[in-house]
Symmetry: C2
Subunit: 350 residues, 2 copies
């Protein structure tokens, strides 16, 4: 009969057991695994063999505790279902996979409270780095970020005072450009459709408003927003609401592409001719925009690149590099397609 253990819990193989099987000290096994060159060829192979045979799995907690560091990069984004963030995540993962870092994803669900909570959880893990979406953290969250002892990249936007580093673009300017495009194509009763109304959407609305004010075309009646999450079907609904409120609307800038696709479908159902009677411009340029009928105009944003770059900056910085500049503006690109080709190029008739 076995003696009762002082501490219970299923035993798993430890470094010490590997070490005694290999007849070396624990630290040598540790080195052989973490930094194979630091150990002689013969030993390295012998140890690896024993590790495989015994099915040794290192204990990440013990390692983190002893070394006071981890290979975890925390990522805080407001949505896991939104295509925009899915693309950013793809960039982040792409860059992470080539490195020794692991990504830990936190979903704030557009809640500042949840963001604070997750930040606390993440920081308790001594992450190697942090990527957070946006610049609108709560005061307390911002304080936590400023105190954090790891590098941090804010993504999605550009703004004045980065907590540390930043990669994004100006939503205001991008929306301004899209709205100007509609004006230049001869549309006169240009509407805005916005869902969710998170800070980035708000800034796009401001860009829209500024462009139409300058063109002396702004009509508040043409701004339709909802706090609901954007979907294609919501685009249909908002389009219906817009037409009920303002039947003379002749174009729309949608806060994102899902809405734009919904608007197109609704226009088709109502036999409204796009782009001749009605122009549509989306935001983000998801791949569906290029193949819809008619193809939909949008503002292309560099989402995957944003994720990649953020991760790259983090890894470089963790590696000790000096990062300059700390604020990167990835810009945007207006992609004009059939859905706004009413009056291409020519100035609008009065």
């Amino acid at each position: 009969m076995k003696k009762a253990k002082k501490r219970l819990g299923k035993k798993r193989i430890t470094l010490v057991e590997i070490a005694s099987a290999a007849e070396v000290s624990a630290i040598t096994v540790s080195r052989a695994l973490r930094n194979p060159q630091s150990v002689s060829q013969e030993l390295r192979q012998r140890i690896q063999q024993i590790v495989d045979d015994m099915g040794y799995v290192p204990d990440a907690a013990a390692s983190a505790l002893a070394s006071a560091r981890t290979n975890v990069i925390g990522v805080l984004i407001p949505s896991v279902t939104n295509n925009v963030f899915a693309d950013v995540m793809r960039g982040i993962y792409a860059e992470a996979e080539a490195s020794a870092f692991r990504v830990q994803l936190g979903n704030t669900r557009y809640s500042l409270i949840e963001e604070e909570r997750l930040l606390r959880v993440f920081l308790s893990q001594r992450p190697a780095g942090l990527i957070v979406a946006g610049v609108d953290q709560s005061e307390s969250a911002r304080a936590q970020l400023l105190q954090a002892e790891c590098p941090i990249v804010q993504i999605m936007e550009v703004g004045h005072d980065p907590v540390d580093m930043m990669v994004g673009f100006s939503h205001h300017r991008a929306a301004f450009a899209a709205t100007r495009h509609l004006v230049e194509r001869g549309y006169r009763r240009i509407a805005f459709l916005g869902a969710r109304m998170d800070p980035r959407t708000q800034r796009r609305l401001q860009g829209f408003v500024q462009a139409l004010e300058e063109a002396e075309m702004l009509d508040e009646k043409l701004i339709v927003t909802t706090p609901r999450a954007s979907t294609v079907s919501l685009g249909c609904e908002l389009m219906s609401e817009l037409l009920a409120r303002a039947p003379d609307a002749d174009a729309v800038f949608c806060n994102n592409d899902d809405l734009a696709v919904g608007v197109l479908f609704e226009a088709q159902r109502r036999r409204i001719a796009v782009p001749h009677q009605f122009g549509i411009c989306g935001f983000n340029d998801l791949e569906i925009m290029a193949v819809a009928n008619p193809a939909l105009t949008s503002v292309r944003t560099h989402r995957e690149e944003m994720g990649r770059k953020a991760m790259r900056m983090l890894i470089d910085r963790i590696g000790g590099k000096h990062i300059e500049p700390r604020l990167i503006d990835l810009g945007y690109e207006l992609v004009a397609r059939e859905s706004t080709a009413r009056n291409a190029g020519a100035p609008a008739p009065v």
Copy 2:
């Protein structure tokens, strides 16, 4: 002048410092934070106050090491950009957020090697539980899962020998039902469009094949597949390829909804009347299907529910409950819409 520390590294506040500030022992502070009822009211408040004032953040690694457990649920899925998994993740997060568990996401990118690697990383963290997509792990990955000392849920499919627990549905049967539907609606030259061709897609193809064999309508020429990831624009391409190969095709069962939307767009461009000349059925029933013109038929799958249920089973099991049954079939639902309404109900003419 301070004496040099034996171990360097930025100091952060520890439990002991809180304890001495509160003039109690470390274990009391630990208890006050983890299990407030176990400490007197007065002490609890005093300790909480000090914790807040000093900005104490517990060290997750130390806690994990000492207690040999974590609150991490590892989730392994093959894609972070695929809408299907995004919905599953939403379910997982929804259930996790109501609990004390955190989700750690791993992206296998449809690679068995990557899955093995991630499994190793995850297991080194002593996760409280694991959710893995599919039943087609490599032999070595399956061995790792069987040895793991935490509960595990396989999702997305149902199959004979669960590693532990399982929540999913039969892709074979779902595809069979969709194909039968097209047969019943009077289509005779029914094609299959498949992208990615992962194991679940393969099983859908088998369901398709079986249905058409039984109807004596199978023609291999009508099966168009590609290893590329599915997108709307790929749907357009595959549709073009299908029509080049088999101009007499009169319906298509698409491996997923993105392809189906692409097929619709391509049909519109070619002035092919849907559903009269050509029927379209997708898979998953993303929300866009219901609002497209015409509305697209699809097979609804319960993705968010799958995520929720998997997480729920895990949490219950970690909490010591006995879970029965260990295999849950969530089924599917054929949602017939305009895109297959050629000959509703009536048996096919010969």
